[in-house]
């Protein structure tokens, strides 16, 4: 009387552009929240970028080997013999800054999940798969991370240029380490992107686990 239907197709995956547009719509609506999360990334990446750039600048100037420049370097407390390498404390500081910003993004994303429980439930009632929910959270985090990193990168570059020009004058331009600068910028951008994607793992997993029943929860 009740013939069992054997074949139920699997819900098709939603394409990335659609995931993107849903994520972006969400971020546009919660723009100020996204901005605050991004500021954390901007500062951390600016700091990282600034330190990386300074190191390439200094190394390139030491390699120049000019006496005038060496005096300037000594005045700036650079240890010429050790090659101007960044000391351990600085590395630790950079690490801590990145970690803080990681925790910041995780926190913001977790709040976004809690805030949107009913929304996630509704999406699932409409036929969203776990995969779709996971993807929207990764996209949201990644977009914030990449935009934040790009801004941080620019900020780091500007500050570094200003400081180096002020300290070393035209030497900073004469010995401008173009290759090193590009590498430093890319490393900063990459670090920010990785940071934001890693930060999204737990929140996205939590979001995907929310049940469609949550859609019926009456909010107070």
């Amino acid at each position: 009387m009740m013939p069992k239907q054997d074949v139920i197709p699997e819900q098709t995956a939603v394409s990335w552009p659609i995931v993107m547009s849903v994520s972006m719509a969400g971020m546009r609506r919660r723009f100020s929240r996204a901005m605050i999360t991004m500021v954390g990334v901007v500062l951390a990446i600016a700091f990282l970028c600034y330190m990386l750039l300074n190191e390439t600048f200094v190394q390139s100037m030491i390699a120049e080997g000019s006496d005038d420049l060496n005096i300037l370097l000594q005045n700036a407390n650079v240890d010429i013999l050790s090659g101007g390498g960044t000391d351990q404390m600085t590395v630790l500081l950079i690490g801590l800054t990145l970690l803080t910003s990681l925790v910041g993004i995780i926190n913001a994303m977790l709040m976004a999940v809690t805030e949107r429980v009913r929304e996630i439930g509704t999406l699932k009632c409409l036929g969203a798969t776990d995969q779709f929910v996971v993807r929207t959270y990764f996209v949201e985090s990644a977009v914030q991370g990449v935009c934040g990193s790009a801004l941080g990168m620019v900020l780091g570059l500007v500050v570094s240029m200003v400081v180096n020009l002020k300290t070393y004058g035209w030497f900073a331009l004469k010995t401008f380490p173009a290759g090193g600068v590009v590498v430093a910028l890319l490393v900063s951008l990459g670090a920010g992107a990785v940071l934001s994607v890693v930060a999204a793992i737990i929140p996205a997993y939590m979001a995907a686990r929310k049940q469609p029943v949550e859609a019926l929860r009456v909010e107070e």
Partner: protein, 256 residues
């Protein structure tokens, strides 16, 4: 389809069962070890194309029953078949497919996605179903016309009244031509007039498209358009009656 046409004969009915619940129980285990029997053994056949209203006092288990027959929660005991599919056998991707293609949900608090426009809300289920954005947009516009919001396609929820939001929700519910619409107190947050419009809209969809409507309600107007009415109390079926057998005046049913 008229009432008499599809209620005429029991055998025909048997083939036209769209939801079958068999001895469904749902128990919630509280922190302190006590158990709430939200549903305590409900068996129910819902017929294709009918308008079933579910009544009962607050806490009687209406919403819980909806969760069970809508494939959005699983029973502690018992079985649920939706369009001949045993819901318990499905994995999460198949459940997503079922919710997407077979069922349209309408909520008391609308649940329109606040970040999306009216049109995007209506097209989202079609996108989940794998339709191309262009197809979805075209069909979405037609649906918005159907629910009387043709000129509001690009409005966002906060620019719309409750009644308009609920119309968007109705449009979203029919996006993938579902077999069933589940509406949990769809008019509870609306004024009488707006509520009536929503009920008329649902009834029109049942008439024109043969969609089965199941609705929890306290709304007497809604009982009037129903083909059958189910009363539940303490998680059990108290009474199941065809509308045409209720010759009582609408005002008096309420006092039962």
């Amino acid at each position: 389809m008229s009432e008499t046409e599809y209620l005429k004969d029991a055998e025909e009915r048997e083939e036209d069962i769209v939801i079958r619940a068999i001895d469904v129980k749902r128990h919630y285990h509280g922190m302190d070890g006590n158990v709430t029997k939200a549903l305590d053994g409900i068996s129910l056949d819902v017929l294709r194309g009918e308008y079933l209203s579910i009544m009962g006092p607050s806490g009687s288990g209406k919403s819980t029953l909806f969760n069970m027959i809508g494939g959005i929660d699983s029973p502690t005991e018992g079985m649920v078949f939706i369009d001949e599919i045993d819901v318990a056998q499905l994995d999460s991707y198949e459940l997503a497919w079922l919710r997407c293609h077979k069922i349209g949900y309408i909520f008391q608090s609308y649940n329109i996605l606040p970040v999306l426009t009216a049109l995007e809300n209506v097209t989202l289920p079609m996108v989940f179903a794998g339709n191309s954005p262009n197809e979805a947009r075209e069909k979405g516009m037609a649906i918005l016309e159907t629910v009387g919001l043709g000129d509001r396609a690009l409005h966002r929820p906060f620019e719309m009244s409750g009644g308009q939001q609920q119309r968007v929700a109705v449009g979203r519910a029919i996006a993938n031509d579902p077999v069933i619409i589940l509406a949990d107190e769809p008019t509870a947050n609306l004024d009488v007039h707006t509520g009536e419009e929503i009920i008329e809209l649902l009834n029109k969809l049942r008439d024109e498209r043969g969609i089965t409507i199941i609705s929890a309600t306290h709304d007497m107007k809604m009982l009037d358009v129903s083909t059958r009415i189910l009363w539940i109390r303490d998680g059990k079926v108290q009474r199941l009656e065809e509308r045409k057998n209720l010759n009582i005046e609408i005002g008096r049913i309420e006092s039962e």
